[in-house]
């Protein structure tokens, strides 16, 4: 009989576990990521991983906190493809903060209230110091090299005029063209909504993708270059554009080619697929033709039935002949299928699932190219471009379902190599569909996944930047601003609390104590962010942990409300990070994603809250006969 065990978490083991889990991924934070080998002792397999998400994917964590963290990271990764490391690091740092609070006797509900308030402060800072992407691009293309810090510079200017932002804002308008004053709202406590409308550009300017992408590469320069190329290819498709300004991530596919050096990575318009020799010969014969295409969402085989179809169990076939009933039926089906295809003059079938060997052979004989395992995004694009209607069964095809206007081009013959699918064929639309294939290559097979991850991380960073239409100053500037605001608020509470104690009796003591607690929590929350920045600095290899902390603290200390701390800091940060580049004033152009950062922060705090409030694990399905273990109580 299976029973239930209760693992009670005295001493807040959950928070400690969270902190320990976060420790695993410290080195994969920031632009200089380090590879890790994860080895399975039992079967000797190993994985080469680089990102926080892949580390967790390959670790088999069975403790509840580990599972919770993995669920959270997975949910984040599925949408954003980047920022999981930040999420996990802060979850760890803030769980230590929560532990510290508990040790100082602050109650759980107080911690939650104060931390939520702190998060609101941080998210507000993010909103206020975000920069519109249109303005970034425009400033560049107008050649405003005189403005070194770009957005950051302005926000730091504004910070020196905390109250008089309105003037600052207006003064900056002529110099930098249509920069939105939104950036300076950061410091004027929400009163300047009217200001922000002053310089709204009449027409939305197209953002300068190359510039934004450079700032978002976060160390993966080559991956980001591929993203920019992809965007360039897509922009060329929109006829009148001459600068690249669009990026449609749903039309980007990747194709991995092992065995080639990494420099061979490239971007091509169209959809590259790898075909066997037999298929390739069909492709050869179809070259330079305008093809008629059919889209099959299911599998292309006799036995395939759609999802939800249940095969009847109780059917018996009664016959006089005992010969090969099924195979002859399949033969019949294939003949009928080919007849349909020939009748509709289809030359190319794209299949979502797989196609049976028999179908492929028959089609080859009639010079019909069958391409299997086509991604659904590609389906969608081809459906809209060619007018084809995706159907589940090939027998369902009719004239209305068949689309026209695809071409097949042999891209490269890789048949000298021993790998199975040997010819790379490009399927192109005659017009421009915006469909782009990114070829990723590596001579080390195990590295391909990491390269693909990096590519998608970069692609999604750009995608989200364009979606948010806003960016944050990167390289730790946003965090510094948040820390600064958190500490200010913490001091405010501390002062408030001592004043009240001096003033005495009107206010209840409880109120004063609560304020004191809030101050402590906010201070610790800020410490978590300091820890984050200094860890990233350590990962650049230019700082020791101690030095990094000192530098951050020094900068925070120097900030007395009138120094352009943000810009200064980010420059210093860059010193460590990009030593080789010329360290001109123009160097400050590292950005972070607004939405991704906010979401990662909030999610990490959510995990901390859930773990903080948890005092026991209930483990179900325990075999009652196993002996008692430590901490485990059998119910």
């Amino acid at each position: 009989m299976l029973g239930t065990k209760v693992l009670s978490q005295r001493r807040h083991i959950g928070l400690q576990k969270l902190s320990a889990l976060a420790g695993i991924t410290h080195s994969s934070l920031g632009p200089n990521k380090m590879y890790k080998f994860i080895q399975d002792d039992i079967n000797g397999e190993s994985a080469l991983v680089c990102s926080c998400f892949r580390i967790f994917e390959n670790l088999e964590l069975c403790c509840a906190v580990g599972q919770l963290v993995y669920d959270t990271i997975q949910a984040h990764q599925k949408v954003y493809y980047t920022g999981s490391g930040c999420l996990l690091f802060l979850a760890g740092a803030w769980s230590r903060a929560a532990l510290e609070c508990l040790q100082r006797g602050i109650s759980i509900s107080q911690i939650i209230t104060a931390m939520s308030e702190g998060m609101d402060i941080c998210l507000n800072v993010c909103r206020k110091c975000s920069m519109s992407i249109e303005d970034l691009g425009v400033a560049q293309s107008e050649g405003c090299t005189a403005l070194p810090g770009l957005g950051i510079q302005v926000s730091s200017q504004a910070s020196s005029h905390q109250k008089g932002t309105k003037e600052t804002g207006q003064r900056t308008v002529p110099t930098i063209g249509h920069r939105r004053i939104k950036l300076s709202r950061h410091f004027c406590e929400g009163k300047s909504e009217n200001v922000s409308t002053v310089s709204q550009p009449a027409q939305p300017k197209r953002p300068d993708i190359a510039h934004i992408a450079e700032g978002l590469s976060h160390g993966s320069v080559s991956a980001m270059n591929l993203v920019v190329k992809a965007s360039y290819v897509q922009s060329k498709c929109n006829q009148q554009d001459n600068i690249c300004s669009t990026f449609d991530i749903s039309k980007v596919v990747t194709c991995l080619l092992p065995g080639l050096p990494e420099e061979c990575a490239c971007v091509l318009p169209g959809c590259i697929v790898l075909l066997s020799d037999e298929q390739a010969s069909v492709a050869h014969s179809l070259k330079e033709q305008h093809l008629k295409v059919a889209l099959i969402t299911g599998e292309l085989s006799y036995s395939y039935r759609h999802l939800g179809f249940s095969r009847p169990a109780g059917i018996q076939y009664v016959s006089y002949q005992s010969a090969l009933i099924n195979s002859s039926k399949e033969e019949e089906w294939v003949v009928r299928l080919v007849a349909i295809l020939l009748n509709l003059e289809v030359n190319l079938i794209l299949v979502g699932g797989i196609a049976s060997e028999k179908v492929i052979q028959h089609c080859c004989r009639h010079h019909i190219l069958v391409v299997e395992k086509v991604k659904s995004s590609v389906f969608k694009t081809f459906a809209t471009v060619t007018g084809a209607v995706p159907v589940a069964y090939a027998t369902q095809l009719s004239k209305q379902c068949v689309g026209t206007g695809l071409k097949v081009v042999i891209w490269r013959d890789l048949s000298s190599r021993e790998t199975k699918p040997s010819t790379a064929v490009n399927i192109l639309t005659s017009g421009n569909s915006g469909l782009v294939t990114v070829i990723l290559t590596s001579s080390v097979h195990g590295k391909l996944q990491a390269l693909e991850d990096q590519f998608w991380a970069c692609a999604y960073r750009l995608h989200h930047a364009l979606q948010d239409r806003a960016l944050l100053p990167g390289a730790g500037v946003t965090e510094i601003l948040c820390i600064e605001h958190l500490q200010k608020q913490a001091k405010h509470y501390a002062k408030h609390c001592t004043q009240m104690n001096g003033d005495a009796v009107q206010h209840s003591r409880a109120g004063a104590a609560a304020d004191h607690c809030k101050g402590v929590v906010l201070e610790l929350l800020a410490d978590g962010l300091i820890d984050y920045i200094s860890t990233v600095m350590v990962n650049t290899g230019k700082f020791s942990k101690v030095k990094a902390r000192t530098v951050v603290n020094q900068h925070l200390h120097d900030y007395n409300g009138h120094v352009g701390i943000a810009a200064k800091f980010s420059q210093l940060f860059l010193e460590g990070e990009e030593e080789d580049r010329n360290r001109d004033a123009t160097a400050v152009k590292i950005y972070d994603n607004l939405g991704v950062k906010q979401e990662a922060w909030r999610k990490s705090l959510d995990v901390v809250f859930l773990v903080l409030q948890t005092d026991a694990e209930v483990i179900t399905g325990i075999d009652q006969n196993t002996g008692p273990q430590d901490d485990l109580m059998l119910l």
Partner: protein, 568 residues
């Protein structure tokens, strides 16, 4: 080759409640459930031993099903609590804590099981009679002319589950939404027997709570956004619709266990498909604009219908069928072998597409005012969202219970302390009669009373989890807590209101610690000051039933003489 395994004899435990093993398990269960209780309760992570999905919760209806024990005692208590929760949704933890404390206290009082059971039963009667009296002092009449009390009641339920991780403002917003959904589900002008409508809950993960909303009509999640190009331009409203409960997957799902013998040339698949397409043609002829199916629809039929401009949605699921039928007036078609009668078709007012985060939803507007509504709940992560969903459904149920009995009980532990004080005082007055009725000494009777009242007070004290002290006020018998470091002199300083918010601290009022003996007194009724409204309310019906379940289960447990287990 078979082998004979010798059967082990059954295991018999005499006087199970004297067995330390069993007592430890009950103690553990009490700790486990007690620590979940109330707005500052602790959460539990429920998962299996091979690292499956983790559920974080403090709700009894989620937590209890995960618990299974080798000890029938634990399972018995679990089952009776779950039965209560399935009927009344709320007060599951209250019932569990009261039941377990009562067992413990009755054992501590060293009374014979017989006497303890009789006294408990009697006192339960005293409580229920008092609670049902018009002049009961811990009861509030609900006024349906104002939503104030309803919102308070809803908020008390929502805020009692910290796993939702809501801020103060979000809690209020969610409470208002639930009240709104509750009110929408009450049909307005139907003569005769009125049946309540349904509220369907749709969840969207990764979206802020503030986006949660209530919509009259139905929102249906659609996975295949491609199929909806034609939704926007539907000229004719109302739209004619049909809904199938039978599978239209084109298989022989109705075959069940039987066997069919076929000639190999027979192609059943294509014959069924022909029949499906025949059905499709009929739908086109009947000018159906919306074609829904509880189960799977054959892709060829879908394709056919869509090409005729019909909106097709498959895999609705059983849960949506009833609300859909109520909303549209359609009758679900359970077979594809007959022509569909006219009255089986339903109507919707309009359809539109709603996009929330990553989810695309088809919004079916009601044709006329309808008691069907959809509550859209959003939260940042899955764990919090699933807890929020459970809590909202529970809250709506609690609100519905008020229609039967428009009352609520004071929350925050005040009802418990008040009841305890009332019971103490009342039993003191009737001690001589009662003792003779139960055939026990007066001391024994008083011990039983003490155990019962203590248990009630323990439940009130269980609301706190930070080591605070629980106090009872010696005039109205309300309950409040003070931080552990508060010094006796300025105890009144450290709080301003009692648990339910009706009694204000003032120097004239006397308070004492809950666990100390106090002289029994008759709680004086509160002057019904209109300016002071209770800020925490509990469901009357649920709590009354929980009280009965707790005492009856405890009595049954006390009554068990042997536990006999087959260990094979």
């Amino acid at each position: 080759m078979s082998r004979v395994v010798k059967k082990s004899p059954s295991l018999c435990t005499d006087l199970p409640l004297d067995n330390t093993g069993i007592c430890t398990k009950l103690q553990l269960l009490k700790q486990l459930l007690g620590s979940c209780f109330g707005p500052t309760g602790r959460l539990k992570q429920v998962h299996n031993n091979i690292g499956g999905h983790v559920v974080t919760t403090s709700t009894s209806s989620v937590l209890l099903p995960a618990i299974s024990s080798s000890q029938p005692f634990v399972n018995m208590i679990k089952t009776s609590i779950l039965n209560h929760v399935s009927r009344f949704s709320d007060c599951g933890l209250f019932a569990a804590i009261l039941c377990l404390t009562l067992i413990e206290q009755s054992k501590l009082s060293a009374l014979t099981a017989n006497v303890a059971i009789k006294v408990n039963k009697h006192l339960l009667g005293v409580c229920t009679t008092y609670l049902q009296r018009e002049d009961c002092d811990c009861k509030v009449k609900l006024d349906f002319c104002s939503s104030q009390n309803l919102i308070t009641l809803a908020r008390s339920v929502v805020s009692s589950k910290p796993g939702c991780v809501l801020t103060e403002a979000e809690t209020l917003q969610i409470s208002k939404l639930v009240v709104q959904a509750f009110l929408l589900a009450i049909p307005c002008d139907e003569p005769g027997v009125v049946s309540l409508g349904k509220t369907v809950t749709v969840t969207v993960e990764g979206y802020s709570v503030v986006h949660s909303a209530v919509f009259p009509g139905l929102l249906i999640h659609i996975t295949d956004a491609l199929s909806l190009n034609k939704v926007q331009n539907q000229p004719l409203t109302p739209l004619r619709m049909v809904v199938f409960s039978a599978s239209l997957a084109g298989d022989l799902s109705e075959l069940e266990e039987g066997t069919i013998e076929l000639h190999p040339d027979a192609d059943i698949d294509s014959q069924i498909l022909d029949q499906l397409l025949e059905l499709g043609k009929q739908m086109v002829k009947e000018e159906v604009k919306l074609f829904l199916c509880q189960k799977v629809i054959h892709p060829v039929l879908q394709h056919f219908l869509r090409s005729h401009g019909i909106i097709v949605i498959e895999r609705l699921g059983i849960a949506l069928m009833e609300p859909l039928i109520q909303l549209t007036g359609a009758q679900p078609v359970a077979t594809l072998h007959t022509t569909i009668p006219k009255k089986a078709y339903g109507k919707v007012g309009d359809v539109s597409i709603q996009q929330f985060g990553s989810k695309t939803l088809l919004y079916l507007h009601p044709l006329k005012e309808s008691a069907i509504c959809t509550m859209l709940l959003c939260h940042r992560n899955e764990t919090m969202l699933s807890e929020l969903k459970v809590v909202c459904q529970k809250t709506e149920h609690v609100l519905r219970l008020t229609l039967k009995e428009p009352s609520a009980l004071l929350g925050g532990g005040c009802t418990e302390t008040h009841l305890a004080a009332y019971v103490r005082q009342k039993s003191m007055n009737e001690v001589t009669d009662a003792a003779s009725v139960f055939g026990c000494s007066q001391t024994e009777y008083l011990l039983g009373v003490e155990a019962f009242c203590c248990s009630l007070e323990c439940v009130a004290a269980a609301l706190d989890h930070s080591g605070a002290n629980s106090l009872i006020d010696l005039t109205h018998a309300h309950h409040c807590t003070v931080p552990p470091d508060a010094i006796n002199e300025n105890m009144e300083d450290s709080f301003s209101f009692c648990g339910c918010g009706l009694v204000e601290s003032s120097p004239s009022k006397k308070w004492t610690y809950l666990n100390t003996k106090y002289k029994e007194f008759s709680p004086t009724p509160l002057s019904r000051d209109t300016t002071l409204q209770p800020c925490v309310l509990d469901s009357f019906t649920a709590k009354l039933n929980a009280l009965q379940v707790a005492v009856e289960t405890a009595n049954l447990a006390l009554d068990v003489r042997y536990v006999i287990q087959d260990v094979n």
